[in-house]
């Protein structure tokens, strides 16, 4: 486990606690989303986790070491922070901006060396924004700026990436670009912690989620946190958490319907036992372990013995029947759908 928060609590001076007794861990390659209404303290939480704000209670451990005891230079070589894209204050070029991310590797009185320059160029290449390198940050679009900020964070070669609403204020395409980049980085082993206003994004991208609301913080599997009940309670919005079938697979989807008063409890569509037949198609054999792991975890719901996967036209086909809580079956479905190269759909039995 890379990063962990133990019994964290935070309050601004003279104000009630934004959250208390918050504990969670973040492992390499894992994505953790922070959700919550405006003012719930999402950005505050990220800042407290990184030590930019001191915890009122509790602590953050990085590789088991309290971050308060880690000198900033070495701390910020392991953790990188991506602020919200905003208009650049200083008209640095993109390359100069990305080089600033190397600060932790450059001596106090030094200037970037060729290896720093090489790393910066490498990161620009990896994010496919090399063409911007000589452009001034004041002259690029918001989407491009967000990619530059991610590049700057990656230039430090961090193990943990903290992103503050990375997809806010961006159009559809740029949102996808940024989220895809984050997902790819996580697959390469970087642990990502990000804030978001979109429950969809938490469901689609994150392994686990934290929901901040009225001084409480719920932590758990993304599919267990992003539920209709939680959304109604935290956001005061009646929403349908569903799985949307695309041509190929199933993607989690949250559709807000109407504003409700927070104490109104939504009707429990999500609960109750259900029967489902899942069909999984995997493009690669590499996904086998992840699929087996996931099925094993929900093993108590699986009906009968699973047969051997069928191989045809270069893909593997697996059939699974499940009997259990509707929400849990959906959680399993969403977990499977997030495994790279895996498509999954379900046929539901009568309630």
């Amino acid at each position: 486990m890379l990063l962990s928060v133990r019994s964290g609590a935070f309050a601004y001076r003279g104000a009630p606690r934004l959250f208390s007794d918050l504990s969670f861990t973040l492992s390499p390659g894992e994505i953790l989303a922070v959700l919550g209404p405006n003012g719930a303290g999402k950005t505050t939480l990220l800042r407290a986790v990184t030590g930019m704000l001191p915890w009122t209670e509790g602590k953050t451990l990085l590789d088991g070491e309290d971050i308060r005891t880690i000198p900033p230079r070495s701390l910020w070589r392991r953790i990188a922070y991506v602020p919200q894209a905003r208009t650049a204050a200083s008209p640095f070029t993109v390359l100069e901006s990305v080089l600033l991310g190397r600060s932790g590797h450059i001596p106090l009185l030094g200037a970037p060396r060729s290896e720093d320059l090489a790393r910066a160029e490498e990161v620009l290449d990896a994010l496919s924004i090399s063409h911007l390198r000589e452009k001034k940050c004041t002259q690029i679009s918001g989407g491009e700026m967000q990619m530059v900020l991610i590049a700057r964070a990656l230039a430090a070669d961090p193990a943990v990436l903290i992103l503050d609403e990375p997809e806010s204020n961006l159009d559809f395409r740029n949102q996808l670009l940024v989220l895809d980049t984050m997902t790819r980085l996580a697959r390469e082993g970087i642990a990502c912690l990000f804030n978001t206003h979109y429950p969809d994004h938490a469901l689609q991208r994150a392994d686990r989620a934290i929901l901040l609301h009225h001084g409480t913080a719920a932590v758990g599997e993304a599919a267990e946190i992003v539920t209709e009940e939680n959304i109604a309670r935290a956001f005061g919005v009646r929403a349908v958490v569903g799985a949307m079938e695309t041509g190929e697979t199933t993607v989690p989807h949250v559709q807000p319907l109407s504003v409700v008063s927070p104490d109104e409890t939504p009707d429990g569509e999500e609960t109750g036992a259900a029967l489902a037949a899942l069909t999984v198609i995997s493009d690669t054999a590499d996904a086998a372990d992840a699929i087996n792991g996931c099925l094993h975890e929900y093993g108590d719901m699986i009906l009968g013995r699973m047969g051997m996967p069928v191989r045809a036209r270069g893909v593997w086909i697996i059939h699974v029947n499940a009997d259990g809580d509707r929400a849990r079956i959906r959680a399993m479905l969403l977990r499977l759908s997030r495994i790279p190269g895996v498509r999954v759909k379900a046929v539901w039995g009568p309630q």
């Binding site: 070495s74 200083s90 070029t93 100069e96 600033l100 106090l108 200037a111």
Partner: protein, 327 residues
Amino acid sequence: MKKRKDGGLSPAARIVLLLLPAAAALVSLCIGRISFTPAEVFSAFGGGDSLAAVTVLRLRLPRILTALLVGAGLSAAGCAFQALFANPLATPDTLGVASGASFGAAFGILLGFGMTGIQLTALAAGALAVALTWLAGAGRREFGAIVLSGIMIGSLFSALVSLVKYTADAESQLPAITYFLMGSLQSSGYRTLLFGAPPILICCTVLFLLRWRMNLLPLSEDEARASGVRLSRLRAAVVVCATVITASCVAMCGQVGWVGLLVPHACRMKFGSNHLSLVPASLCVGAAFLTLVDTAARSVSAAEIPVSILTALAGAPLFIVLMRRTD
């Protein structure tokens, strides 16, 4: 001039920038009430009692050295303040240093001190002004509070300068104070350099060494902290250097306006915002600029024109031309 990938200066730019102050100094050594050829100037460095040797070594050289130092210093300080406040319009006076040092100098003149005494009171009052600014603005989380208190302390010391002028003897002291504050390198000599040069040289060196790090200053608080640099220390180092330079300059030759605003700005248009090249460029261009302007100040007319008037007269049009030429 093609920029290097890391934002540093190309070799060609380095040579040009280094030659600039040297050329300005040579021109300045030749020109004056009595003109010399470069050959005469070079032979004057051999010493002796010739007219050329006396004029060049005793009168012009210390003044030119002062101009080079003050020009470089004010430009570097301006550069530092502009980075610190993420505002290209910040000047070396933003924290109230120049007003404080001016008050010190005026007070020194009022008490009838000699040049060295005036220099020391100016330095002391400049330091006091910064300390007051820091105290008034400290404890607040936002850095903007420091700027506001700097403006307040600055106007407080401006009022004190007026008070000193009001109490001063109208026949002798008042004109002396007024001329001094207008900014003039007339009274500079090796003796003023003795106290003035070391702090400027040291602080300019520190700023030069920190030049790449200064790029972090205009970033937002979180971004700068996330770079792993102890921002408060970096800020403190830059503030101390820039204020010491400014106070030393005012102590030597009064308030020379415009250089600290104009030179870094002009350099930014030419070399970009990366301090890796901006700081050295500002140092060199500032030194050359003030040397040339001071040469004009002492040789254009029989009576010397205060250098501050000329920096503004020469600077403003130059600046507009530059601004219109860059996109």
